[in-house]
Symmetry: C2
Subunit: 340 residues, 2 copies
Amino acid sequence: MRIAIDAMGGDHAPHEIVAGAVAGLDQLSPEDHLVLVGQQDRIRAELAKLGRAETDHRLTILHANDVIEMGDHPVDALRQKRDSSIGRMAKLAADGEVEAFISAGNTGACVAACQMKIRALKGISRPGIAVVIPSFGGPTVLCDVGANVAPKPHHLHQYALMCSVYAQHFFSLPHRPRVALLSIGEEDAKGNQLVKQVRSLLKNDPRLNFVGYVEGRTLLSGQADVVICDGFVGNVALKLIEGLAYGLVEMLTKEIAQENHQLAKGFEPILKNLWRKHDYSEYGGAPLLGVDGICIICHGSSDRRAIKNAVIVAKGMTSTNINQRIVEFVNAEIPSPSPK
Amino acid sequence: MRIAIDAMGGDHAPHEIVAGAVAGLDQLSPEDHLVLVGQQDRIRAELAKLGRAETDHRLTILHANDVIEMGDHPVDALRQKRDSSIGRMAKLAADGEVEAFISAGNTGACVAACQMKIRALKGISRPGIAVVIPSFGGPTVLCDVGANVAPKPHHLHQYALMCSVYAQHFFSLPHRPRVALLSIGEEDAKGNQLVKQVRSLLKNDPRLNFVGYVEGRTLLSGQADVVICDGFVGNVALKLIEGLAYGLVEMLTKEIAQENHQLAKGFEPILKNLWRKHDYSEYGGAPLLGVDGICIICHGSSDRRAIKNAVIVAKGMTSTNINQRIVEFVNAEIPSPSPK
């Protein structure tokens, strides 16, 4: 299996990216291969720092001269920076040169590159980013978190179907994944026009185990395995969770330190342990579901551990044929209701 | 001044509502008057429990037989339950019988009652709910959090203007309130169609101190005094903050208790203190800005302290003529840019 990685993408690129990629490779089988995409001199320098021979037959460097920055406009950047690592990776995937690719760079550019270069899975109109969030009742898949900020009802319906397959695979659930829709109340009448239309699509699809609306307050309660929303709302929610969790813990730590030094010392390891348990980087990035290839989008702040996990997840998703399962599920004939 | 209160609205009605209302009244001036609206027998029973004479000349009970439940469809409920406390209160305000009214009941029904019965402020098309959230950098006004789930760009522009006045008044700011727009990135190009259109309106309005986009991660950082968003997104965000804060603290408390009993004992008062400092009920409910009257919407779970604070806030908003200030600000002639 061949996995490409964007050595230039992310706040800590290329240093942490190359280190994480190589660490990930070491966990895979001997026949697996890694393609490091980006400015070759910088990648070489990183490999040297790691004491890694460039002649390693399981590693290839693919030079791409241009770097798409975090703040770049996705489509403009892809057009103007014709030799970017992101553009190159999407082309590799489209040509079947790699089975999966990973980037911690500009998310919009990854999505746009996939849409421009890689065909969609049969039955899917638009890809969506599915992220696993650690809720208080176990992990939950939230989709979409930013690929599609103006979705049509059928896009969200397709996300529900794809995430049902993804959650089943990822969590090895003993039951059919419970799918919920994010809204502003739990009663049927609550929500905007989009949400009400999607509700009726999900409710009437016998392939889905639809459990109704969840609201902001219950999003993290673990009452659903999959929560579907439009990409704008999902992105706000995801980043809010991150900002609030960090902020709260920081405030608490400061307050305890001021109050009681002894207490602060006892508190520290508990907090560290808790962080570790709920660290998003454990989940190794978020797949862009719906394109014919495995594209894993990592957090901009990803360190080597997050990248290593992304490599392992990419391998797992490829070897379990997640895309084929999605295509079969999405295009399955819907059993018609039995006549009364 | 006369303030009406929905004795039947909220999870702890009428008990906590009546107790809080009376406690609030005790903090106001002798000429202030409270109208308790709802089922009179139940209100009387609560007053008796509090040892409060029903003949108190500063208290009136206004009987309303119907109760709109939390799960009722707002407009349907107002039409079918013609003698509801919420409907009655809006009528009192429309007729100038009370200057302000408060409810911890069905938010949608309060908004709908105001829109049906009370005229809008001059220059305002749709009311919005403005809630004060305790951010890590000081309080922030978030608007709208659920009155308007399908806003037009000019609605959000009007919310920005109204909240600028409200924040200035409420926080006594030494500077012009910094107004931000909630989006999915900080760069200009990020966001959906609505947000991009609103951005241009806010940027070009010289009355506003517009500071750009904030995203979910920075919503609570205190870099803006006012954050504007559509009612769907705002409601999800508000409830998510609540759910996550409670959940995190609960998890942390449990973890510490398991780990170290002594530590848990030391942690408890720090946590309590922190809760108190950041408790939304300190802010006494959220005004529905844009209607010609003061309507304060309280959290469904409001206890007597929250209601007491809402009474005090209602008095403050009325006596500082917030609505008149809003009308003057919104309808002020915009200085045309000086010729070059």
